[in-house]
Symmetry: C2
Subunit: 208 residues, 2 copies
């Protein structure tokens, strides 16, 4: 049938299908959903796509996505500059902001170290982080660097690399490096937890 | 954080989020996927969306989506006109064509009877189906009407309604009405089958 679908319909199915996590059936469903919608809805979608084509860049200070030289977080008054939370991407910033618990700044690496994919320190925004820390060193301000890379192999390796790299500042007592806790997710079951998670939960136990 | 995302980014997240089956997390992931893609990919998506805005209409004969007066199936030479498979929407046509087993024509109702939602016979392409059958009656040609509405409450009700409505033609021996088999899906387990499906599988048993 594919060959018998009108070309514009097949084109939109293909466009959806190229997106991650959208299979051909879902692509069909989304396309026919839009076909049933008014032209206004389709136009609004086109306008939204059009909007991301220009004017967006990484924040000069932290690498977060932004439509101004400094991103929304860096511009926000009242964020404490003595905490920098290191994350992989802008979506992690969104997730952490949703907790409404963190009032420091961020540093968005733009990925994780992955030698297999040719991603070394120079492919990430690590020099920019180094520069930020150097600037704070000049004014002898103490900083906490919170490693919030994913609890994956690459995420752990990246956190470890950065911890090594900034050791001199730690020695000078200008920097503390912490790592977000790994353990059992809320609402989960110990009996179903995987051994690695359970091991981390044991290792990371706190006093009550 | 939402408030702190650049407006164009938030707009695209919202646009994806309005689509059925795409939650806010997935919407974010799709948006950042496109942000990382080249402008070429985004342009291609825009072009695809633009393509469905005009020039598409229901097939004059069967109601399937088309960019010409007659849809791809109705135009295809060699399809037997003595079988008409009644489906709810164009996606069902695609699914049935994938079987490569059916060589007749279709009739796309454009939905199912659903009095709760104000959808009666006049809101579906039932008169058009009646006209098709009348035309075949004039040339005294025998037709098989295959009811391939979904095996849901509304789908069954719609198939039953049509069966009632076209009874006169059946009496005249000009029409046979069949219903696609309901039973156990291939690869499933009897022990996990729901009672209704199992009941249908028993009722619809065939001689071996």
């Amino acid at each position: 049938m594919s060959a018998k679908l009108p070309e514009p319909v097949q084109n939109l199915i293909d466009a959806f299908n190229r997106l991650p996590g959208i299979g051909s059936k879902m692509a069909g469903r989304l396309t026919f959903h839009l076909l049933q919608k008014s032209e206004y809805d389709v136009n609004r979608f086109i306008t939204a796509l059009d909007g991301i084509r220009t004017g967006l860049q990484p924040c000069e200070q932290c690498g977060n996505i932004s439509d101004q030289p400094l991103c929304g977080v860096c511009r926000e008054p009242g964020r404490s500059a003595d905490q920098i939370c290191v994350v992989e991407g802008p979506l992690d910033v969104i997730a952490l902001e949703r907790t409404a618990l963190y009032h420091g700044l961020y540093h968005v690496l733009g990925g994780v170290l992955s030698p297999m994919d040719g991603i070394g320190p120079d492919q990430l925004r690590i020099q920019l982080l180094q520069d930020r820390l150097n600037k704070r060193q000049e004014i002898a301000a103490h900083t906490e660097l919170i490693m919030a890379t994913n609890p994956s192999l690459e995420g752990e390796a990246t956190a470890n690399y950065l911890t090594q790299r900034f050791q001199p500042l730690v020695q000078e007592k200008l920097l503390t490096i912490t790592r977000i806790a790994r353990g059992l997710p809320m609402g989960s079951d110990i009996e179903y937890a995987d051994p690695t998670t359970l091991a981390r939960a044991l290792e990371g136990r706190n006093n009550l």
